[in-house]
Symmetry: C2
Subunit: 339 residues, 2 copies
DNA sequence: CGGGTGGATGGGAGCGCTCCCACGCCACAT
DNA sequence: ATGTGGCGTGGGAGCGCTCCCATCCACCCG
């Protein structure tokens, strides 16, 4: 059993050693103002000498915070395979570590695990929740809020998202891609969208349309095909586009993976990229770099999104920032040979 | 503040409702045998009616376990960008969820974060530790053990690893790659190794040599170049190999990333893959599939390794399995066009 | 010079659980 | 009938903290 009773020093022992009361030590540790400089020093010394580390379980039980937040990832997503989440995790982790908070990772696969997770929340295990890749009709964010727990989403569910979120500028991504393509002299620019029940996909599509308008190019519904962010979806959509208008000279795919699929189909149809058709993706993932030709792609500041999410959550937990904030981070076009 | 005092039911309330004592409820929850069938039922009903969920903080404080394990990832690794860790996480998470344990993710970047982590351990925050990507001279595993905490590594530091670990069959990976290449009629088979201070790299190299011997091929030290698991390292090593023996007809790269680098150099030298030179990597990562030509690669059962690690740790925590176990999981060659 | 004021302080009272001891009860042996 | 053992059980005693109230002291005002 876990019976390793390391005789770790307790608050009380620190207090004894410093010649003060328990309350004072607690105040020092929690950075309360109302402590004399002298007491602060004595306690600090005692802590150092004893190598005291507060017991978090006791703290969680007595207070009502846990110093931990959950990062929830619904793993239904094939997207999980992408480096995307790793970058999010990296950002979140950095921000949390700075605040001495712990990161609890929860992958939700099955309905059962989903329920188990709800129990966690109910059991007061975390101070807040970070949700990644939420779908349009996912009730989880609202459930979390209903429990009174702070929450921050990565990407909103809809433009009316009531819960705080951090998103990238999807509209801007579409616009910049199209502007770039138009600037290269392309004038029959098609797009492969993501699943339209996701706000990110709609945003990129809207950006695509704005981009066309700004470039003075006519919108043509035949140049729009719906994908699902997967490679295979990209292939299907590309075939559809080719069948509808064989004269297209550029494609803006709303994800790198779909661009990969599109490229394969273009090749198979004897079209050269970028000679005949220019191609732009979104994500700037490693595959984009390794594709042949290397793929022009719109980069999202993923790690920064993670950091921002964590920061937002921390502020909510601290009690500032009560009304939900909505942050949108800028994207950046990375030009490579495919366009 | 975190003042959401949801009036969640406590053990005591469950006891009252079930008409039994606190002790009995506790026994039921913890699956102790010494409880009458009747009491068990009454308690079960009360729990369901009240929607009782045990408070983990209280449990951790009273007992001395936390029902949480830490997954530690030293992020010095560029490898973190790969899907590798995600798969590990997936496996670990699945196994832990089944045991109703929580997963605490800890990325260690700086020396400071490393120290903070040691404090965690000392503060009795977790019941066990999973360590990923440990280097030859990393003291962390020993420190964890010194604290009396169960630990399981992903990959051993050396053949004499004292701590429990789960690894993939690196020697087998090398052997199968070479056997495959030899079977295709190649007889000047080179290898690009990983950094030789890593056991995985040494293992793959050893497998390469065994493979040559088994195929009746002579070993030639000029056909061995040292890389570092990165794309750039692969490029450098490939140039070195080409300079040393221009007559090589196959390359076994100890990672997909290095194979990518090698491929670029081969191309640049006007060599065709697989026409002139056959190429095999290790990891079966997504880039392998998207490479042109698609890369033959040795697949490791990464997710399964994660699951196995977690399982091993859980058993250690439960008190079984006191002497460290060393598990080696088989690999599998995935043949594609590059060989 | 007494009462007032406010900041620093000590320590009691829990937080919700597990551990464990002592108690009652029953079946069996004497 | 009395003794013995074991099982199921209740509940006291903490685990190490935070919260909060009462206390104390120094200093200020009228």
């Amino acid at each position: 059993m876990g019976g390793r009773q390391t005789g770790r020093p307790t608050l009380e022992e620190v207090a004894a050693r410093a010649g003060v009361g328990r309350g004072t030590v607690s105040r020092v540790i929690n950075g309360s103002s109302r402590v004399s400089e002298q007491a602060k020093e004595a306690v600090g010394r005692a802590i150092a000498e004893l190598g005291y580390v507060p017991n978090r379980a006791a703290r969680a039980l007595a207070g009502s915070r846990t110093d931990a937040v959950a990062l929830v990832v619904p793993e239904t997503e094939a997207r999980l395979a992408e480096p995307y989440f790793l970058d999010i995790i990296r950002g979140v982790s950095a921000e949390l570590a700075a605040a001495d908070m712990q990161l609890l990772l929860t992958l939700i696969r099955t309905e059962q695990e989903r329920q188990r997770f709800e129990q966690y929340l109910a059991a007061q295990r975390v101070d807040g929740v970070l949700l990644v890749s939420v779908h349009r009709d996912d009730p989880l964010p609202d459930q979390v809020r209903a429990l009174g727990l702070p929450a921050v989403l990565n990407g909103r569910r809809s433009p009316q998202e009531p819960v705080a979120y951090v998103d990238s500028d999807n509209v801007g991504a579409g616009r910049s891609a199209v502007a770039h393509l138009a600037g290269r002299g392309r004038c029959r620019i098609a797009t492969i969208t993501g699943p339209l029940d996701m706000d990110a996909a709609r945003g990129r599509l809207a950006g695509y349309r704005q981009g066309l308008a700004e470039a003075g190019l006519p919108a043509d519904e035949l140049l729009v095909a719906t994908g699902d962010f997967t490679e295979d979806g990209g292939r299907r959509a590309m075939r559809e586009l080719l069948a509808q208008c064989s004269d297209l000279d550029a494609v803006f795919a709303a994800s790198d993976l779909m661009a990969v699929g599109a490229l394969a189909v273009l090749r198979a149809s004897g079209l050269d990229v970028p000679g005949d058709v220019a191609l732009v993706g979104v994500d700037d993932s490693p595959v984009a770099r390794h594709l042949d030709p290397p793929l022009t792609s719109v980069r999202q500041p993923i790690e920064e999104m993670g950091r921002t999410m964590a920061g937002l959550l921390l502020r909510q937990i601290a009690g500032e920032d009560v009304e939900p904030s909505h942050l949108v981070l800028p994207t950046e076009l990375v030009v490579r040979k495919s366009s």
